[in-house]
């Protein structure tokens, strides 16, 4: 490829950085809080809830994210054509505008959020359960309420403990956004693939690789800083 072509491809990929970042950002925005809820549900003392949550986590972690994306993408149109669909479900499905601009993006986010929430939930649960019983007892002995104990005593210590594992997940997410290309979502990998075929050159893929690497690198540095900042106690 000529340097002019490389510049053109780089510009094109740069334009598609936004869709990639959108998947990344929205997934984080929703999967972290949802993960917290899932973690609490899994620790629920009422067994059926804990059990159901576990089934959800097992399925999310036990099947490929790519498969889940495809499934969520085609779930609504596939359900639509079924003649035995009950009235209420049909109404809900008709509400969903599969021709809408945001339909594809929304479905991708749904798939990513539910998948990543399962992973985050397990990280959060591990963090919460690693806090010694003595910390709760000390707080309760000081007459603190359960809510105060969780937010003032437990959560700050959990955050410190889960930073390294969360960093792993977040950095994986940067690269996993490329899976959205499987449903023809125009993000970096999809565009790089098209350009590779157009120019019969692997250079667009290398450039895409550099994009992902830089993003991961920035996040790595960011998390190292966070870890360092939280290192004021042991």
């Amino acid at each position: 490829m000529t340097s002019e072509e490389i510049r053109k491809v780089t510009g094109l990929l740069l334009e598609h950085l936004l869709p990639t970042l959108k998947v990344f950002g929205f997934t984080l925005l929703f999967s972290v809080p949802l993960g917290m809820i899932v973690a609490l549900l899994k620790m629920c003392k009422f067994k059926p809830i804990s059990w159901l949550t576990n089934v959800y986590i097992l399925i999310m972690r036990g099947t490929p994210l790519m498969l889940q994306i495809i499934l969520v993408r085609y779930l609504v149109p596939m359900l639509r054509i079924n003649e035995n669909t009950p009235e209420w479900l049909r109404n809900i499905l008709l509400e969903i505008n599969i021709a809408g601009d945001n339909y594809l993006f929304n479905m991708i986010i749904v798939a990513f959020v539910f998948n990543y929430a399962a992973y985050f939930a397990e990280i959060f649960r591990g963090g919460i359960e690693s806090i010694p019983k003595g910390q709760y007892e000390a707080a309760y002995a000081l007459s603190m309420t359960k809510t105060q104990t969780f937010f003032r005593i437990v959560l700050p210590q959990v955050i410190k403990r889960i930073v390294p594992a969360s960093a792993n997940e977040v950095i994986t997410l940067v690269k996993d956004t490329s899976l959205a290309n499987v449903v023809a979502y125009a993000e970096i990998t999809l565009v790089a693939n098209q350009q590779m075929q157009y120019y019969s050159s692997i250079t667009p893929l290398v450039i895409a690789g550099v994009f992902y690497f830089v993003m991961s690198f920035v996040l790595t540095v960011l998390f190292a800083l966070i870890e360092k900042k939280l290192n004021y106690y042991r």
């Binding site: 910390q135 000390a138 002995a141 007459s143 603190m144 105060q148 700050p156 410190k160």
Partner: protein
């Protein structure tokens, strides 16, 4: 005036009866030392009074508030969450492993409950905390984190933390068991000073000399029972109970052989 009343307290872990028919009172200004072999139920007793373990039966009253009562149908009823917090406010608890909050400074540990639970203005809470730290000989450690302190210092901070809520009674659960002899001395000295100020205390301990020295009443427990209860002179000096004799003589032998 009885600050703590315990009546017929019993507790089972699975099939093991760890507390059987425990009854005693603690009056204002009294220091009670609870001694006995490991597994005799000493710590479980303290944990039941704080409701970290749920007793199976009996009655517990702290400062005229019922923590555990029998209702008219002879069922054991626990206090509600709000009352339990009110009761725990009257009880200061010092743990064997300190259980300081590692993410807070020494000062942060001490003012946390006064500010968040009692809603004391922060400046006032800090002032009180600094007074307590001075008393503990730790004024210069106010801004240190727990990991920067020795075990003895951490334990003294945890005593200050418990005192910051102005409790009516202080419980110590083997406060020196995690400390070496030198650090043990620092902590015992502080407890002794509190005894001199007429702080009401219940101390579970393996430090026999200390118990003898500081306690008004010594309780000897074995196998979940209170075997003997009396003045230190009686329990240590001329007990007529065979089990107490046996325990104390073994203890004395250990001390002597350790000295050799």
């Amino acid at each position: 005036m009885a600050i703590l009343e315990v009546r017929n307290l019993s507790k089972k872990f699975d099939d093991v009866q760890v507390l059987k028919d425990i009854s005693f009172d603690v009056n204002k200004g009294e220091v009670i030392a609870i001694i006995g072999p490991s597994g005799s139920g000493k710590s479980t007793l303290l944990r039941c009074i704080n409701q970290f373990e749920k007793a199976d039966g009996g009655e517990i009253t702290v400062c005229d508030m019922d923590m555990l009562v029998k209702d008219s149908k002879d069922r054991t009823v626990f206090s509600d969450a709000k009352t339990l917090r009110d009761i725990r406010l009257k009880i200061g608890l010092v743990f064997q492993n300190f259980n300081l909050f590692p993410h807070m400074t020494v000062l942060g540990n001490i003012i946390e409950a006064p500010v968040k639970v009692l809603k004391t203005p922060k400046a006032e809470a800090v002032e009180k905390a600094m007074e307590l730290l001075k008393k503990m000989g730790l004024s210069e450690k106010a801004n240190a984190y727990p990991y920067e302190l020795s075990g003895g210092q951490q334990q003294r901070v945890s005593i200050a933390r418990a005192l910051a809520l102005n409790p009516e009674i202080l419980f110590f659960d083997e406060p020196t068991s995690a400390l070496d002899p030198e650090l043990t001395g620092q902590v015992l000295k502080v407890i002794k000073e509190l005894a001199e100020e007429k702080m009401t205390m219940v101390i579970v301990t393996h430090e026999m000399a200390f118990a003898r020295d500081v306690a008004d009443i010594v309780v000897f427990m074995d196998g979940g029972y209170i075997v003997e209860m009396g003045t230190p002179e009686k329990v240590f000096g001329n007990t007529e109970n065979e089990r107490t004799k046996q325990f104390l003589s073994r203890y004395n032998n250990d001390v002597m052989s350790a000295d050799e």
